[in-house]
């Protein structure tokens, strides 16, 4: 909470005066600090601290480490360098889209049925839809989280376990 007088310089000096007077009885003592300090112009302070985060984010973006949808950072890095971790392949060239899961633990609700099916052969989209008891004609572009909402009890952790069990015989 602050006082309503915050906008006014509540001293007795006329507004036109260019100087203020420290009241009698106060003790004007220069500030003592163990630090050597230098004034920073406010404009420079604000500009520098606005540019700094922009540069950091731009740096990470140019390094391919920026995704607003996606999965583990290892899979992200793998697809970014082109070496890949198994099936790590970006579904969006600009680096802002989902990254294909490298392991069942990387499966997220934001991924589509097709992305998961492509990442874990020989699983098919139809098998995944069956797990969610979704109609077989459901588009492959449907996000898993939408299937979770429509399903009765099936969720992402359960899907990860199911994928793991399906892959086990091959590994």
């Amino acid at each position: 909470m602050r006082s309503p007088s915050r906008d006014s310089h509540g001293d007795a000096t006329p507004a036109s005066a260019r100087e203020l007077i420290i009241p009698a009885g106060r003790h004007p003592v220069p500030t003592q600090t163990r630090l050597r300090t230098r004034r920073v112009p406010v404009a420079m302070y604000v500009a520098a601290l606005l540019v700094l985060p922009a540069l950091i984010v731009a740096g990470f973006m140019s390094a391919g480490l920026w995704a607003t949808k996606g999965t583990s950072i290892t899979a992200q890095a793998g697809s970014g360098t082109g070496s890949g971790t198994g099936s790590g392949e970006s579904s969006a060239e600009d680096g802002t889209g989902d990254v294909a899961p490298a392991a069942p633990a990387d499966v997220r609700g934001s991924m589509t049925v097709k992305e998961v099916a492509d990442a874990f052969p020989p699983l098919t989209a139809a098998q995944i839809l069956t797990q969610f008891k979704a109609p077989p004609n459901t588009p492959g572009t449907t996000q898993l989280k939408d299937l979770v909402e429509a399903s009765d009890g099936m969720d992402i952790p359960a899907l990860r376990i199911w994928i793991q069990t399906q892959l086990k015989p091959q590994t």
């Binding site: 909470m1 260019r18 230098r38 004034r39 604000v46 985060p53 607003t68 583990s72």
Partner: protein, 326 residues
């Protein structure tokens, strides 16, 4: 600039010294404040556009722009190389960004960029606008403001400020143990982002409580519960930038204290290094004395353990004149 004047009795004793100090232009504070509000508005607009796009066209979630997720996901990331659900690489990048920003500029993110802080400021401003127009409410608010900084209320305020550290510990440890974002369930920012997909939840209750409290208290969530603010407070302890008060130019007028949204007693500090400082510069803008408060950069001092502030040439001149006056 600084000239000793004779006291009322005509003799020059230490108690009667009157010193002239340069006045800061009255509009300076307004310029800083409106610059800050413009930047805050731009950030809110970008995040709002993102949130609306997510709801209407299924675009990427504004949640991906939340830096807290990176800190919550830290242990899982170190141990497994994966992030917890709802955390994307963008969150990790923003976590690093916020950390660097705090190391350099202390609470700058909170005061100038954080959209949750902006929303609270907007609600508080709306509350003030209403109470200013309704006399009984105005009297009540002034009575509360008089009591706020003293006695029991001050002790309650100080005690509640420990809440940030508790919430931070809960978010980090909970995230490490469960592998999920435990704080997400109570995060008012998430509730605000997903307000269109309304769901009655703990986060929604916290959001409502925050907004109601924001009517009478400035930035209640930032003061008492924000884990991201707590992370920045820790990193900000290493920051070389801080608002510094020059006691020789301080009028002791209390305007800086009244202006501070986090209720920091600025006029009792030499450097405002409080963990709750948001770097909003409201105190600097409110200070009528040109040299009373300023943003300063601390540098290593190898010459002396205790040294007088070295600012501009005029500051040094001020000090020598004060020496003579005394």
């Amino acid at each position: 600039m600084t000239a000793p004047e004779e006291g009322t009795g005509g003799s020059l004793s230490a108690a009667d010294v009157r010193v002239r100090v340069p006045r800061r232009p009255a509009s300076w504070g307004s310029k800083v404040r409106w610059t800050r509000h413009a930047i805050q508005g731009a950030v809110v607009a970008v995040v709002g556009w993102q949130a609306v796009g997510h709801v209407t066209s299924g675009g990427e979630s504004a949640e991906a722009w939340c830096p807290l997720g990176g800190f919550e996901s830290l242990w899982t990331l170190i141990t497994t190389g994966r992030t917890v659900p709802h955390v994307h690489t963008s969150s990790l990048v923003l976590s690093v960004t916020v950390l660097v920003l705090a190391l350099v500029g202390r609470g700058f993110f909170c005061g100038w960029l954080c959209p949750m802080g902006t929303v609270q400021e907007m609600v508080h401003a709306a509350g003030r606008a209403v109470t200013d127009r309704v006399p009984p409410l105005r009297r009540l608010r002034r009575r509360l403001e008089r009591r706020a900084g003293t006695g029991r209320w001050a002790r309650i305020d100080q005690s509640l400020r420990w809440g940030r550290w508790v919430v931070l510990a809960w978010a980090i440890i909970g995230g490490a143990v469960t592998g999920t974002m435990v704080f997400r369930e109570a995060d008012p920012w998430i509730a605000l982002l997903l307000v269109a997909e309304f769901e009655f939840s703990l986060a929604f209750v916290v959001l409502i409580a925050t907004l109601v409290l924001a009517l009478v208290i400035e930035r209640p969530f930032c003061r008492y519960a924000c884990p991201l603010g707590a992370v920045q407070a820790l990193a900000g302890k290493l920051s070389p930038i801080a608002v510094q008060r020059d006691a020789s130019a301080c009028l002791d007028c209390d305007l800086c204290n009244q202006a501070c949204p986090m209720a920091i007693p600025v006029n009792t500090r030499t450097r405002v290094t409080d963990t709750s400082c948001t770097g909003c510069l409201e105190c600097v803008g409110a200070c009528p004395s040109k040299n009373g408060l300023a943003v300063t950069l601390a540098m290593p001092n190898f010459r002396s353990r205790v040294a007088t502030t070295t600012g501009t040439e005029s500051d040094r001149q001020t000090e020598s004149e004060l020496e003579i006056a005394r």
